[in-house]
């Protein structure tokens, strides 16, 4: 099944009450198919055809505040259009779930895959996870609702999948059935709901005297949510047999060179690692699954013993210190006593195909600069003319 359609099918199994979404390539099939499911009567939900993404997230915010399980989906410019509401949903502790089909930010206009859209929302206070293939999309969609609605969390979750590279790819996937999803994901019981019988104000004003305390409180909740995420992943493994970790390692035993990838490019990088290992190179791959809250301990543990880590980003921070994932990985490892060299390779912007050979070249470059030292702040890999 096409992964975007599968995402819609599995979100329908999670029984959302309100779906408010606006179409934007490449995630359109997700809300579009959900609207079909609602129209066919297979899902009892309110599908609100809003006029923009800003309205979509605002509608979800209001619906969640009224006690409904709310869902939306978007990409790129749509995410930027709703960006004004994004930090509001997390600060209001409303468990909205959003699936993002990662697409390049304009301009120039480009509808294909890169991570610049989600990277612009790093600081918004949402839980953020990345899926690398269709099965992970199906599994993590259900997990997202459970994590978001947990009483110790009550935070919105965004689940990221690469636009076109995943959304429009057809893969075989194993679906849980409705009974299994209902057993895993019980009915949503909101902490508070706006209703004439309830005395509650949501979306309140905070003067400078209290604002810092509000920020600290939400930061602590986001950091503490990792405990719940790990519990939910453990429960998923017990029930369905598929395991999830914040940082996944692939053939990292004795690795001196590590590739660090996020999203579906990790699956291509695995092939490159296999080829290089066959040639005797001590190379491994790390795949980041949990982006926010950032998995500091798991990362520091995973890079132990490596001499160099090549962090592959699918987004560039113009004039800045390299790709966003690279900046955060380097910052997380800065205080470690024995830390590897870390280099930034920015690949595949705007959906540019990154074949196995490019990952091989990057790994070989990493092995070379481990001895000679880094050659530049960061490299946008594979640019013609450079």
């Amino acid at each position: 099944m096409e992964i975007a359609l599968a995402a819609a099918e599995v979100v329908a199994l999670c029984r959302p009450d309100v779906i408010a979404a606006y179409p934007i390539t490449p995630n359109t099939h997700i809300p579009e198919h959900l609207s079909d499911i609602v129209a066919e009567g297979r899902l009892d939900a309110d599908f609100i055809c809003v006029e923009s993404e800003h309205s979509a997230l605002s509608a979800c915010c209001g619906a969640s505040g009224a006690g409904a399980r709310a869902f939306t989906a978007t990409s790129s410019q749509g995410l930027l259009y709703m960006a004004e509401v994004v930090p509001i949903v997390s600060s209001m502790r409303l468990p909205v779930v959003m699936i993002i089909g990662n697409r390049a930010l304009s301009g120039p206009i480009n509808i294909w895959n890169d991570h610049s859209d989600i990277m612009s929302q790093r600081d918004a206070g949402w839980i953020s996870m990345f899926a690398a293939n269709g099965q992970e999309v199906v599994d993590m969609a259900v997990q997202s609702f459970k994590i978001a609605e947990h009483r110790d969390v009550m935070l919105p979750v965004n689940l990221n999948l690469d636009g076109f590279q995943l959304t429009h790819v057809v893969e075989p996937m194993m679906f849980p059935n409705q009974e299994e999803v209902d057993a895993f994901l019980p009915e949503y019981k909101p902490y508070a709901a706006v209703h004439p019988d309830n005395i509650v104000s949501m979306g309140t004003l905070a003067l400078p005297e209290i604002f810092n305390e509000c920020m600290k409180a939400n930061d602590e909740v986001l950091k503490g949510s990792k405990k719940v995420i790990l519990e939910v992943w453990k429960e998923w493994e017990e029930k369905f047999g598929r395991s999830y970790k914040p940082v996944e390692s692939y053939r990292t035993e004795g690795a001196e060179v590590l590739l660090f990838a996020i999203g579906s490019m990790a699956e291509t990088a695995e092939v490159a690692v296999d080829q290089l290992r066959d040639k005797g190179m001590k190379v491994g791959l790390l795949k980041l699954r949990l982006w926010r809250p950032f998995p500091f301990e798991e990362l520091r543990e995973a890079v132990k013993g490596a001499k160099v880590v090549a962090v592959l980003d699918r987004a560039v921070s113009f004039g800045g210190p390299g790709g966003p994932v690279f900046s955060e990985v380097r910052s997380a490892l800065y205080d470690e006593k024995d830390r590897p060299m870390i280099i930034s390779e920015i690949i595949g912007l705007g959906g540019r195909d990154v074949p196995v050979g490019d990952f091989v070249k990057i790994a070989e470059k990493a092995a070379r600069v481990a001895k000679t030292g880094p050659e530049e702040e960061y490299e946008i890999f594979g640019v013609r003319g450079s």
């Binding site: 502790r93 009550m154 508070a192 003067l207 209290i210 305390e213």
Partner: protein
């Protein structure tokens, strides 16, 4: 666990999502403390037309028992619109000491 404390002080006391579970709590914040000037009424000139009451953006001007108008200094921010609109010039803005 909804906390009913009047004002949170430490970060642990802030309600989740900064939600407020008491009605009318905004009334306890006296915006009158922001004032630099306050309105002083000369009731000998007041014709009880109510224009100051209508124009006050704060809605904090009310009538006393004799029908003369007075501003609630807990909330009056001293914007001076009442003094500007008063036809007989019964209101003057005076610097806060």
């Amino acid at each position: 666990m909804k906390k009913e404390k009047k004002w949170p002080e430490d970060w642990q006391e802030v309600n989740p999502g900064c939600m407020v579970f008491r009605p009318g709590s905004a009334r306890e914040y006296h915006t009158g403390s922001w004032r630099a000037q306050r309105p002083v009424y000369d009731n000998s000139r007041c014709i009880k037309c109510g224009v100051c009451y209508i124009f006050c953006p704060e809605g904090c001007i009310s009538q006393d028992a004799d029908g003369y108008f007075v501003a609630d200094l807990d909330y009056c921010k001293g914007c001076g619109i009442c003094a500007h609109e008063c036809w007989p010039g019964a209101i003057t803005m005076v610097e806060e000491g």
